[in-house]
């Protein structure tokens, strides 16, 4: 979900960029092995939520850019609403009575 959201916000981005973005926006709370991004991206490629193509990075190196597909957008919508449902439920449970 985080990857999909990042791609939706930033447009096409390479793996390093995605990792950077997630870390920065979550204010370093979400600390993951950055490498684990790549198996996840593979799974999304299989599902057809993202496509990948080689392009030029900001510092003129070859980098692989991932782009959200319409199916990916739909999936993001689904996951966001699922997430909100869960959040709402948690919120209700922990709300002071």
């Amino acid at each position: 979900m985080l990857i999909l959201k990042t791609l939706a916000r930033l447009g096409p981005m390479h793996g390093y960029g995605i990792a950077q973005h997630i870390q920065q926006t979550s204010e370093a709370v979400l600390q993951v092995e950055e490498g684990s991004l790549y198996p996840a991206l593979q799974r999304m490629l299989i599902k057809g939520w993202v496509t990948a193509e080689w392009g030029q990075s900001d510092n003129h190196r070859r980098a692989r850019y991932y782009r959200l597909t319409p199916a990916g957008k739909k999936q993001l919508g689904v996951e966001l609403s699922e997430f909100e449902k869960v959040m709402r439920a948690i919120a209700q449970v922990i709300q002071p009575a």
Binding site: G15, Y16, P39, R62, R64
Partner: protein, 860 residues
């Protein structure tokens, strides 16, 4: 839906883009690391990124090909391991090929004969309907036309019902007459079997009369032999003296009843169709949805009604529905199942052997496995490697076995040693292949599981420490798996040996029954019954041949099943006629010289002579069994008997009992009448006692028969010795086959025990060395090693005896004169095995005693 398809497509493309994928991913990760390194230094970047190789592996795994790829790697590795141990691989593959080959061959026979439906449309609905004789306990008696008509008219269970009776036509092929087998069949015959001619038609109702034009339907094969003329329908063929119009040709492969080449219409107005003439067979097709039980109860009701309606003709006559498949396969079923069981034992023993070999190997490879485990290989992965190895072995063995089975089956079909029904359908086909492959895979997994389990419960520390000759690990107690396998092998082998012993003893009993005649030096030939009284002419000719001492003839000698018998035909003057099985009496016709030619014994009185002609006083000879049954306390000579005639015959002699061809019961009481005072009922068996080797006269005898009757078809000219051998060919075949399997089982399991003990000795060389250095005598060492083997054997033999006690019961109907729990067979069976196992233990035990303590200790 589309998503799913797209995903599948992307996954399928993956293997082709594999290299591209690896390059891309690596570059991508390097880029990530480089960027990160610029930011926070190379070491931190790598720490933050995680295990690159593992991640690469994970990414690849995501595409779902990981399983396949690692299996392929496992197989490749297994192949390499096996190639490096050609001896082990060869022994394992050969053992498995033996087991799988033998079982595949037997299964292909079982499959064709027992499992596959008969080659008819909806064959499970085809039935035979028989009369029964309630008082005699017979349930498959040929049917009278009257009863057939009543059944057909009154029953609702059958869609079609038809009678047929075997018939044959004579044809001249060059100068030699040949008999073409066929059948006369009534209207519903072809519809009942669900076949239609490929050309022409079958019979019309108006053709089922004696007065109708002579017509015939041909089998495909017979049509081909006649030249395969596509316009043959409507033309005529000459059969014997008659001309028949061909009205139809049946499809290829249709030949029912067995071996039929021709079909003729059954004449419903035939004078032979009287109410007392029971000579027909009935085939019927059940209506859809009707079960055999329903049909059976309906036909019983009808039979009960007929009994009331025709009390005279149908007294004690019932009816019985038998599925056609049971009818055809019938007797072969049990024998085939026994063979299947025997061959299954062989297969299991072979598997146990290979499992043992693998276990031994895996113990030897523990260091390697432990190393791999400690380097991070998963237990499942290790187990899978071992499974791949065993699967590879099993499949190789299976392939070799199938090839062997293919040749075995071809040879078996060509020889047809036991006249199996449906033998022509036996082949290694798709179903059989499926069986073999399934068996191979099941076996591979099964015996691969033992070592795999062993390796998945590793004791890393100790395994790594193990040297090549580590002490202790070869002990039986510590290796329950292997001992269990060896004991199971022994148990199975004991069971098989006992089974074989029973069949062997039964066979010996069968051949040991006194014959009652001397078969040596006798040439025989069977002639059709139509020879009648002209037989004397032929016998004179044969007697004139140089080297012939005596020539005689009798109906179906010695009284085989073709001889006729009857329970209420024999009348003894002054006594009421009896009925029931105990009154069954055989009816024989014999010529004057017959008793001498056969070498039968005379108990009292005299045999027939040339003087017992048509006009002479009527005489008869009875056998010993008849004398004992009907004249226990009096002299039968001079008593008067008759068999369906007006005149009485005087008993002039008592002949010794004669054992029948293939008939394995007590001799039946029988009465002989001279051929000039009675007419032949059945075939005529001519016997020539010769002073020279009998077969040297075969050519001359054949020429004499031809000169006497040019057109007559006669059976094989052969020695009576050969005929007797032929009559026990079936039990002998089963006996040999099961004995063969038993010997195989014996050898394989002895090799298994040898391997186990030998391995143990090899592993304990060091320990034995210490023992001997400390003063153990050779005898002590010998006893120690033997003791282990014998413990194993005791368990195995005990299990085997118990198994045999339970399982030999299935042999009961195949045995003659031997109980399935025959003590001698049990003793022989286990005795032979004990000897073999002793030998298998002794050889390695001997080697153990020759261990040089110095050598063994330096070995460490």
């Amino acid at each position: 839906m589309m998503d799913w398809l797209g995903e599948l497509w992307r996954r399928l493309l993956f293997p082709f883009r594999r290299q591209q994928f690896d390059r891309d991913l690596e570059e991508e990760m390097r880029f990530h690391l480089d960027m990160k390194a610029q930011e926070s230094g190379a070491a931190a970047a790598r720490r933050k990124f995680g295990n690159g190789t593992l991640l690469l592996e994970d990414s690849r795994q995501a595409w779902g090909w990981g399983g396949v790829e690692s299996w392929a790697a496992d197989l490749k590795y297994a192949l390499r391991v096996l190639r490096n141990n050609p001896g082990f691989a060869a022994v394992a593959v050969f053992t498995l090929a033996l087991g799988i080959g033998a079982s595949t061959a037997v299964f292909s026979v079982v499959n064709a004969v027992l499992l596959r439906p008969l080659p008819f449309r909806e064959a499970d609905r085809l039935m035979m309907v028989w009369e029964t004789r309630e008082t005699r306990g017979e349930d498959r008696v040929v049917v009278s036309y009257q009863n057939f008509c009543d059944w057909k008219e009154q029953s609702r269970s059958f869609e079609h019902m038809a009678v047929f009776v075997g018939d044959a036509a004579r044809m001249m092929v060059g100068d030699e007459p040949v008999l073409v087998p066929g059948a006369r069949v009534s209207g519903g015959f072809f519809p009942a079997l669900g076949v239609q001619p490929i050309m022409g038609r079958t019979f019309l109702p108006e053709e089922e009369r004696t007065s109708a034009q002579r017509i015939t339907v041909l089998s495909y094969d017979f049509w081909q032999r006649l030249g395969g003329d596509r316009n043959l329908v409507g033309k005529t063929v000459q059969l014997d003296r008659d001309v028949f119009t061909v009205v139809g040709i049946m499809p290829r492969g249709f030949s029912f009843p067995k071996d039929s080449e021709l079909w003729f219409p059954f004449a419903t107005d035939d004078s032979r169709n009287g109410p007392g003439a029971h000579y027909l067979r009935v085939v019927a097709r059940l209506r859809a949805g009707v079960t055999v039980t329903q049909a059976q109860s309906e036909i019983e009701t009808i039979a009960a009604r007929l009994k009331l309606a025709h009390p005279k003709e149908n007294e004690a006559i019932g009816a019985n529905v038998v599925p056609l498949h049971d009818q055809i396969v019938g007797e072969a079923r049990r024998a085939l199942l026994v063979l299947m069981g025997a061959v299954g034992c062989v297969l299991l023993i072979a598997c146990a052997n290979v499992a043992n070999l693998l276990l031994v190997r895996v113990t030897g490879r523990r260091r390697e496995l432990a190393l791999r485990l400690s380097l991070g290989a998963g237990r499942w992965r290790i187990a899978r490697c071992l499974l791949a190895e065993s699967l590879l072995l099993a499949l190789a063995g299976g392939a070799l076995g199938v090839a062997a089975a293919h040749w075995l089956v071809r040879a078996f079909v060509a020889l047809d040693p036991i006249h199996l029904p449906r033998i022509q359908e036996v082949a290694v086909n798709g179903g059989v292949l499926l069986y073999a492959v399934a068996a191979a895979i099941a076996i591979g997994v099964l015996f691969g599981l033992a070592p795999a389990l062993h390796a998945s419960r590793p004791d890393l520390g100790n395994w790594l420490k193990e040297g090549p000759g580590a002490p202790g690990v070869g002990e039986f107690g510590k290796n329950r798996g292997r001992s269990l396998l060896a004991a199971a092998q022994i148990a199975l082998a004991v069971t098989l040996l006992i089974g074989a012993g029973l069949l062997l003893r039964s066979f010996v009993m069968r051949v040991r029954v006194p014959l009652g005649f001397r078969p040596e030096g006798v040439l025989g030939v069977e002639l059709p019954w139509s020879v009648n009284r002209r037989i004397d002419e032929l016998l004179d000719r044969l007697r004139a041949l140089p080297g012939v001492q005596a020539a005689g003839a009798a109906t179906a000698f010695p009284q085989n099943h073709a001889g006729s018998y009857c329970d209420d035909c024999l009348e003894i003057e002054g006594r009421p006629r009896g009925q029931g099985k105990a009154r069954d009496t055989g009816f024989m016709v014999a010529t004057a010289d017959f008793f001498r030619a056969a070498g039968m014994t005379l108990q009292r009185g005299r045999f027939f002579t040339a003087a017992d002609g048509a006009d002479a006083p009527k005489v008869a000879v009875i056998n010993e069994a008849l004398a004992r049954r009907d004249f226990p306390d009096q002299d039968p000579i001079g008593m008067h008997v008759r068999w369906g005639t007006k005149e009485w015959s005087t008993v002039i002699g008592v002949a010794g009992n004669v054992k029948g061809f293939g008939v394995a019961g007590d001799p039946m009481p029988a009465v002989y009448f001279p051929n000039r005072q009675a007419s032949w009922g059945n075939g005529v068996q001519v016997l020539m006692r010769t002073a020279v080797p009998p077969l040297s006269l075969a050519g001359a005898a054949r020429r004499e028969i031809r000169a006497w009757n040019k057109r007559m078809i006669f059976g094989k000219l052969d020695t009576v010795d050969n005929m007797l051998a032929e009559s026990v060919a079936v039990p002998r075949f089963y006996m040999m086959l099961v004995a063969g399997f038993a010997v195989l089982a014996l050898v394989v399991s002895a090799v298994g025990v040898y391997g186990t003990v030998n391995y143990s000795v090899a592993r304990r060389t060091h320990e034995i060395g210490i023992r001997m250095a400390l003063g153990a005598e050779r005898g002590d060492v010998l006893a120690m090693i033997l003791g282990q083997g014998l413990g194993l054997m005791a368990v195995g033999v005990a299990l085997g005896l118990a198994g045999a006690w339970v399982s030999t019961r299935v042999l009961e109907t195949l045995l003659f004169g031997v109980q399935p729990t025959d003590a001698a067979a049990f003793a022989y069976g286990s005795g032979v095995l004990v000897l073999a196992v002793l030998l298998a233990c002794y050889v390695p035990a001997r080697r153990a005693t020759r261990v040089d303590p110095l050598e063994a200790l330096r070995h460490e």
